[in-house]
């Protein structure tokens, strides 16, 4: 059974579309971590991946809300599904067309790297990141290091300027 089939057949645990406020991300994340006693290691990893990818939407979505004319909150979608063997988390948000290809290249690079190479990339990237509003730029690397599964991405072009970028990470329960 391939990943796409898993996504289609999984039971939906959480689904949201709208602005990714930190207050919401935090409540959703806490529920993910605590919603049952089983698979606690998988849920710890899932929580970390959930926060990283959700904050990517919040920080970088081209569709956004302004709060008090100061704070920019990205708008997007998230879906969390559960199958017998895994949790499958997907985010989807608007990006500029040129950024969609950069993101796709990053996903390909991360998917082509083994754990050792990922750790090297993570260290290199974090040391060389300009910091401040750019963060550490290692969220995708971290997601694959934690899940040990490849990223799945999909680009849907909206017009000549913008696309939807969706990203899926599978976290095995055991």
């Amino acid at each position: 059974m391939n990943d796409t089939v898993l996504i289609m057949t999984g039971k939906t645990i959480l689904s949201y579309k709208g602005p990714f406020y930190i207050e919401l991300i935090s409540v959703f994340g806490t529920n993910i971590r605590n919603f049952n006693d089983s698979f606690s290691n998988a849920r710890k990893k899932l929580f970390k991946i959930f926060i990283e990818l959700s904050q990517n939407v919040s920080n970088y979505s081209e569709d956004f809300h302004m709060v008090n004319n100061v704070q920019r909150i990205g708008v997007g979608e998230l879906t969390l599904k559960e199958t017998d063997a895994s949790y499958v988390f997907t985010t989807r948000n608007q990006v500029k067309d040129k950024d969609a290809s950069i993101l796709a290249e990053r996903c390909e690079l991360v998917n082509a790297s083994d754990q050792l190479k990922l750790r090297e990339l993570k260290r290199e990237q974090r040391l060389n990141s300009p910091g401040e509003k750019f963060g550490a730029r290692i969220g995708l690397i971290q997601a694959v290091m934690l899940s040990k599964n490849k990223l799945e991405y999909h680009i849907d072009q909206i017009n000549e300027k913008f696309s939807y970028f969706s990203l899926t990470v599978k976290v095995d329960k055991n």
């Binding site: 990893k45 970390k48 926060i51 750790r119 260290r123 990141s129 910091g131 963060g135 290692i138």
Partner: protein, 129 residues
């Protein structure tokens, strides 16, 4: 130079609790760290450490008790460790302790990466939750 004391709240669990004490030379960060605008939160903490190592010049201890920190927060923690490493290289006394939950298999790897990237020794201590 003043102490920094920030308490955590159940309504904002993404901000850690912070206690930086000039007289004791201790800096403690605990809880979770995944706020928005991470650098804005950490900049005063980074500046406090710079100020302490440039002007107070006494032994300093950084105690980190974070159950979770997002990757933006890891960049800020690395900035703090790099300042402490420079201070140590200039002869300053520095101790860094990282308290971790042994049921989290990924935190030890994270601390190893911090050691490798900053060059500073970090003492790993298990804590009971």
């Amino acid at each position: 130079m003043e102490n920094i004391a920030l308490t955590s709240s159940p309504t904002t669990p993404y901000f850690p609790e912070v206690n930086f004490d000039v007289n004791k030379g201790t800096c403690e960060i605990s809880g979770e760290s995944y706020m928005e605008e991470t650098y804005k939160f950490y900049l005063p903490l980074i500046n406090w450490i710079k100020d302490f190592t440039n002007n107070i010049k006494r032994p300093i201890e950084l105690n980190i008790k974070l159950i979770y920190l997002n990757t933006s927060s890891t960049k800020c923690v690395l900035d703090m460790l790099e300042i402490l490493k420079d201070y140590e290289d200039e002869g300053g006394k520095v101790k860094v302790k990282w308290y971790y939950d042994k049921s989290d298999p990924d935190m030890v790897d994270e601390v190893e990466d911090f050691e490798a990237e900053s060059g500073i020794k970090i003492e790993l201590i298990e804590f009971a939750q």
